[in-house]
Every structure is written in C-alpha cells, then in structure tokens.
C-alpha cells in the first residue's frame, strides 16, 4: 500500500498509443469536470524500463470500480447509472495479446469515504506485486496504475487491482493468446481417399503451426517427417493445412493443430471419421431393390387390368357370336334382319 498525496494535479505525460477500454463507466461528475485520462507522471524507474523495451508497442487498459455505499446517497440521475453494477462480482476484462508489449493497467475507484483509508494492492494471480505501481487521488476518485512488460508466456495470466475499504473491490485483467475458435463438425471420409484438415487464426499470425494426433489423452506429433502420407503446408501465415492421403480405418480419431506464439500456444481439435464404401452402398442397394419392386407392381397391375378387360371384351364378343348363331337358327324369315345386321357390322 503506497500513497503519494503530493501528486495532486495531474500533468499528462507524453504517452504513445493510448488505447482506453472502459468497462463500466460509473463516473461521478467531479466539480471541476476534469476527464481523468492520464493522471500520472512517469517515474525514473519506469522511464528506464520504457527505454529498454521501446521497440515494443504500448497497450493501455482501464477498469472502473465503485463503492457500494455510494449508491444509496447519490442523486437519482446517477442512481440509474449505477443500476446493474454488481460490486460483489469481480469486474473482469479479457485481453488478447499476440506479441510482446509494454502494458499499462489503470484502475479507478470511486468512493464517498475517506480515500486515505483505502488499501491498494496489485496481484498477479495470488502473488503480491511489489513495485512499479502508482496511486493518485483526485476529488473522490482514487487512481492506481501498474506498468510492466510482457515478453514471454510466464508473464501472461491474470493481473488484479485490489481496493480494500470495508469491502474488497477487485478488477481483473486476463491476458491470453489468441484462440482458434472454430467449432468443427467431424469430417467424414472414405477408405483410400485423402482429406485436408485446416486451422485458421482470425486476425492473428502465429510464429509456427504444429499438428498432433491423439488416441485418448496422449498427443503424438504428426507430419514431422514429411512422407507420402502427410503433407503440411499453408497459403498464409494465419492458416495451416494438413493433408492426409491413403486413409485407412486406423487414421480415424482426433487431430490437434497448435498455433505457437511468442507468448504461448493455443490449439484446436478436429475429428476424422473414416467409413468404408459399404456403408452407403448398403443403403443404395436397398433403395434400388425398392424401385425394382415398385416397377414390378405397376407393370403387373397394368397387365392384370388389361387381362380383365380382354376377358370382358372376349365375353362381349362371345355374346355377339351367340346372338348371331341364334338368329341363324331362327330360319329364313330372318334373312332381312341378318342382312341389316351384316351391313351394320361391316361398317
């Protein structure tokens, strides 16, 4: 806990590349209406550090916290502003970092109580951080700032600022490498075929990509001795492709692609299913059999109705022949009608 009450008036130092990301801007409009953008001056220690890593870019992040008690005593317009803020839940910010950078983290705490009685600390995870942070107070807002540099993966993690009054308020900055987030469905392939697995990083450029296959929990590298079976290439720096040829059923399973950054790794999981041709072929033959059955039914039905009709036609003909025969047997008086009948039939 350190407080330097002498630093009252803020003198904005020249800071390159200021990126302000405000999480919950609960600002009490201070009497002098000053925007607390950069309330600190740089210490000699920090200037030294900045010189060492001056080739790295500077990233700034900001979290605002408020004292719970304030809510009850504030004016109604500000009550609506603070509604929805849960001071019991930790305020968190997720930051994606790809390359080594200089980092500047600022927490501001608004309270109605006595600023001097607030205990301010910074921690990385559970570990207390000792130096390199500043504290300033303006009106009823307490600012603290922590500056450091991230150059390797051990320095990634969660950094938190703590304000201890009656209750502990905490703001957390989570640093992570970019994640490969595409949720993929399993790829279906066939024995003897070839397949291309692709991993892509949106807007980020890993240093390197590696591929692993796993049966269970152990990951085995894949494609490192490039042979006829595995080919790894990628068109751009932000994607990689693994081509597996001559697939067999043993190739079925999970594959992992790892994107390697200076500050860590992230991975993605793809699953391959290898089927044999027999699987769809069975369905095909079943449907083909059904079609043959349908055609047979249709043609048989038709032949059946034709036969019935033919029988009834034959039946009619038979009746006509019978009638002629009976006319014949009626004798000579029926010569005239027979002629007429002959005429009508002859047409």
């Amino acid at each position: 806990m350190r407080s330097l009450p002498s630093l009252r008036g803020p003198r904005p130092p020249p800071l390159p590349l200021l990126l302000l990301c405000l999480l919950a801007p609960v600002r009490r409009s201070s009497e002098d209406g000053r925007t607390p953008a950069a309330p600190f001056t740089s210490l000699p220690v920090r200037e030294e550090m900045m010189a060492k890593y001056s080739n790295l870019s500077l990233k700034s992040h900001n979290i605002s916290l408020t004292d719970e008690e304030k809510r009850g005593t504030k004016r109604s317009s500000e009550l609506t502003m603070v509604t929805g803020e849960h001071s019991n839940m930790p305020v968190e910010k997720n930051i994606t970092l790809e390359r080594p950078s200089n980092i500047e983290l600022t927490c501001q705490f608004t309270t109605s109580g006595d600023l001097n009685s607030v205990n301010v600390t910074w921690r990385k995870g559970d570990e207390l951080l000792e130096n390199n942070y500043l504290i300033n107070a303006t009106g009823s807002i307490l600012y603290t700032q922590y500056m450091f540099t991230i150059v390797n993966s051990e320095q990634m993690g969660s950094y938190s600022c703590f304000f201890e009054e009656k209750k502990e308020q905490r703001g957390t900055f989570n640093f992570k490498v970019p994640e490969l987030h595409e949720k993929k469905k399993p790829l279906i392939t066939y024995v003897g075929d070839s397949v291309v697995l692709m991993c892509k990083c949106q807007g980020c450029f890993p240093l390197n990509w590696t591929w692993y296959s796993s049966n269970g929990s152990v990951q085995v590298p894949v494609g490192v001795p490039m042979n006829n079976k595995y080919v790894i290439n990628g068109k751009n720096a932000n994607e990689t492709r693994l081509k597996i040829m001559q697939l067999s059923e043993e190739d079925q399973g999970s594959y992992w692609c790892h994107a390697i950054f200076q500050l860590g790794e992230s991975e993605e999981h793809i699953e391959i299913v290898v089927l044999s041709y027999w699987v769809p072929l069975k369905a095909f033959l079943a449907i083909a059999a059904e079609v043959v059955l349908l055609v047979a039914i249709i043609l048989l039905c038709e032949m059946y109705t034709q036969k019935k009709k033919k029988h009834s036609d034959d039946g009619k003909e038979f009746e006509q022949i019978e009638q002629l025969k009976s006319d014949d047997s009626n004798g000579i008086e029926n010569n005239a009608p027979r002629h007429r009948k002959n005429e009508s039939v002859g047409q």
């Binding site: 279906i188 066939y190 291309v196 041709y277 349908l294 249709i298 038709e302 034709q306």
Partner: protein, 426 residues
C-alpha cells in the same frame, strides 16, 4: 386398337400427373439443390467456384438440348420406355460421379450422362400429360410442376444431411438411388393413342412441319426471351442481397420464401388457365409482364420488407407462368405433335437459359451492382410477352380448338408408323 377422339381428361391421367410431379421433383429439384454439393466440390477438388458451377450448367444444357431427342424417341416408341431408360441413365451418372477423382470426371458423369437421362425423362412426360388432358390441361400441368418447388424446398436440407452423414461420395450414391425412382415414374406412363396420331406421322416429318409453322416459331422466340431472364433471380438474388449487406442466412431464407410462393402460383395459374375462356397465351402474357415488372423493380427496393414482398411476388408470378407456358403449345400445334414440339421448344429456349445467368453476371462485373442485370432481365421478359401478342387468336374471346392449324395437308407421304403402344389405352 381404337383411337380416341379426345384426351381422357382424367382417369389414368391423374396417375400421369403424379408421375410428372415426382419426375419434376427428381429432375429439377435435384438440379436446384445441387448448390449444396457445390461447396463440397470446391473444397474436395480445390478448384475455383466458376469451374465447379460448370457441372450444373452442363447438366442443364444437355437436358434442354437433348429434349428433341427425347421427344423424337417418345413419338416412335411411346413415352414409357424412353423415360425408364432416361431414369437409368440419370441414376448411372450420379453413381459414377460418386467415384470421381477429378472435376472432368464430374462434368462427364453428372453433366453429360445424368443430363442425357434427364433429357429423356422430363419432356416426354410433360408431353404425355398434355395428351391426357384438354379441358383441365393447365391445372394438371400446374399441379405436376409444383413438384419442382416443393422438392427444392425439401431436397436442400436432405442433401445437407446426407453430406453430414456420408460426405459427398456417399451422398451422391444415395442421390443416385433417389434418381432411380424416375424409372418407377416412367412405368406409370401408360401409352395413349389419340385420333391425330396417324395423321401427323413420325418424328422426322413432325419436326419438319413444325419448323415451317409460323406461330410455333414465334412462340419459341417468346419462350427463349422469357427463359433468358427466368433463372436470374434464383442465381443472383442471394449475391444481390449480400451486396446490400444482408447476412447469408436471411438471404438464403428469402430464396426459400420464393420457393414457397412458387408452387402456389403454379396451381393458381393452372386453375385459372382452365377456368378462363380464350387462348391461354393471354394469361402467359399477363404473368410474363408482371414478372418483368417485378424484376425491374428489384433495384429500386432497398428496405427489407420491400425486398421480401417483391420476392414473394416474383415466386408467385414466375411459378404462374410455367404451366401456362406448357399449355399454350398444344393449342398451337395440337396434341399429335406435342412430343416433338415440346422438345424443339426446350432446345431453343435453353440457349436463352444458358446465356441469361452469365449475361447477368457480366453486367454486374461491368457496372458494379445488380441493377443493370435485373433491369435487363425485366426487359427480356417484357419483350417475350410482346412477341406473345402476335400469336393467333390472341384477341379472340372464344376457346380455340385443340386441333392444329394445318394438320392434314402437312401430313405424310409415306407409310405412317403408329406409335408402338402395345398395352392398349385407357
């Protein structure tokens, strides 16, 4: 074997409608839903989209250019054996495609082989349908053609599911099994002998007489103009919406909205075509003009509600013009020559269909938006409806007979082979 004087207008005809329904589903529904395979082919063969889209283009072109062959064969042998053979060819093409190792392989198997199969099925079936109906021809055709809309609605998700279970090879195998049902549909096409058949003669003579038939030629020109513009919204609507900053999912959804209003339009127009007296060509002109106006309005519409309304209207009117387009033909050339007539029309109008989408794409590349493409498409439709005015009896108010304009004099010199229809008629 007695010849009928009039088409039966029912009875077994309704089974033919059923057969035509499934056939239009299996031919055009498959073609329209083929876009689902498109993405898979691009990834599997690592070829650019333009080359992969040739597969469908070749299939459509072969189906339409091969229509006269299908018609000629149907005139000689009857529709049943031709359609069954076509079904086997179509299924065989898909089957061979499942084992493809290159894009050329797909051009030949799906494009050429399945395309020829489709050529042998669709046209003879519709022609057969026209022979079975006269008073209710438009309704029957409209009902049969709803198969296209409903199937492209159902097949797209079905194909997607097949792809997720079996990947594209297995899915093609199962689409081939699906296409085998064309054979069963062909079995339903009982042959019919009408009184005009001996008079109009064999395929060669019919083709010759058709080519000298003025109204038929004008009708073909009109349909070609219509066909040029017809497919443009289906091909370019989604891209146009993406240009207007729509997300891909709502854009695809809008297409399925058109797919719903399409069969509604078909049935409504079919019913209307039979109910309204006078030449059916007038209704065709009405629907064509409406579709043309709607297409021309597309560039003006910016608001989502306007675009949805336009798309619903487009689906309705473009669906409405299809059954009437098929019904005009028997009125012009008679049911005797319907097979050859339909085949010729399909072949010529396919030129329009082939040119339409690339022309629209070219206009878009040149001007930067789809405005010119849609306006030109509307213009083609209006031009087509203008040509329709020149058809005979256009301004009459009595129903025309379904007899051809100049039948007996055109007919045959030599011996007339009757269509070989052994199983009698109904």
């Amino acid at each position: 074997m007695a010849l009928r004087a009039e088409p039966p207008d029912g009875g077994w005809g309704w089974m033919v409608v059923l057969s035509a329904f499934f056939q239009s589903a299996l031919v055009f529904g498959v073609l329209r839903s083929f876009g689902v395979f498109f993405v898979e082919f691009v990834a599997a063969f690592e070829e650019p989209a333009a080359r992969v889209s040739w597969i469908a283009s070749i299939g459509i072109a072969v189906q339409q250019f091969g229509s006269p062959v299908g018609s000629a064969l149907s005139t000689k042998f009857g529709p049943r054996p031709v359609v069954m053979a076509g079904g086997i060819l179509a299924a065989l093409g898909m089957l061979l495609a499942a084992f493809a190792t290159s894009l050329t392989h797909l051009y030949l198997s799906i494009g050429l082989l399945s395309g020829s199969g489709w050529a042998l099925t669709f046209t003879p079936t519709l022609a057969c349908l026209s022979r079975y109906f006269s008073r209710r021809r438009s309704l029957a055709t409209g009902l049969a053609l709803t198969g296209v809309g409903l199937s492209s609605f159902a097949f797209a998700p079905l194909f997607q599911w097949l792809l997720s279970q079996y990947a594209w090879r297995g899915a093609l195998l199962l689409v081939s099994a699906l296409s085998l049902h064309l054979v069963a549909c062909g079995a339903l096409l009982r042959p019919l002998s009408l009184a005009e058949d001996p008079v109009v003669g064999g395929p060669g003579a019919q083709l010759a007489s058709l080519l000298r038939h003025g109204p038929f030629l004008r009708y073909t020109v009109a349909l070609t103009l219509i066909n040029t513009a017809y497919f443009i919204p289906y091909v370019h609507l989604v891209a146009h919406l993406r240009d207007l900053d729509w997300d891909p999912l709502p854009a695809a959804f809008l297409l399925s909205v058109a797919a719903i209003s399409d069969p509604v339009g078909r049935v409504a127009s079919g019913w209307l075509g039979d109910a309204v007296p006078g030449p059916v060509a007038r209704l065709l002109m009405l629907w064509t003009t409406l579709t043309g106006v709607i297409l021309a309005l597309y560039p003006v519409a910016q608001a989502p509600t306007a675009l949805v309304a336009l798309t619903v209207a487009y689906g309705f009117t473009s669906g409405a013009l299809t059954p009437v387009a098929f019904s005009v033909l028997p009125e012009l050339v008679g049911t005797g020559k319907i097979y050859c007539g339909l085949g010729l029309v399909q072949m010529v109008e396919s030129i329009g269909g082939l040119l339409g989408a690339p022309l629209s794409g070219y206009l878009r590349d040149v001007t930067g938006t789809y405005t010119a493409s849609f306006v030109v498409a509307g213009a083609f439709l209006l031009a087509g409806s203008g040509v329709l005015i020149t058809l005979p009896h256009f301004f009459c108010f009595s129903a025309p007979t379904s007899k051809p304009q100049d039948p007996v004099t055109e007919a045959l010199d030599t011996k007339v082979p009757l269509p070989r229809e052994g199983l009698g008629e109904d």
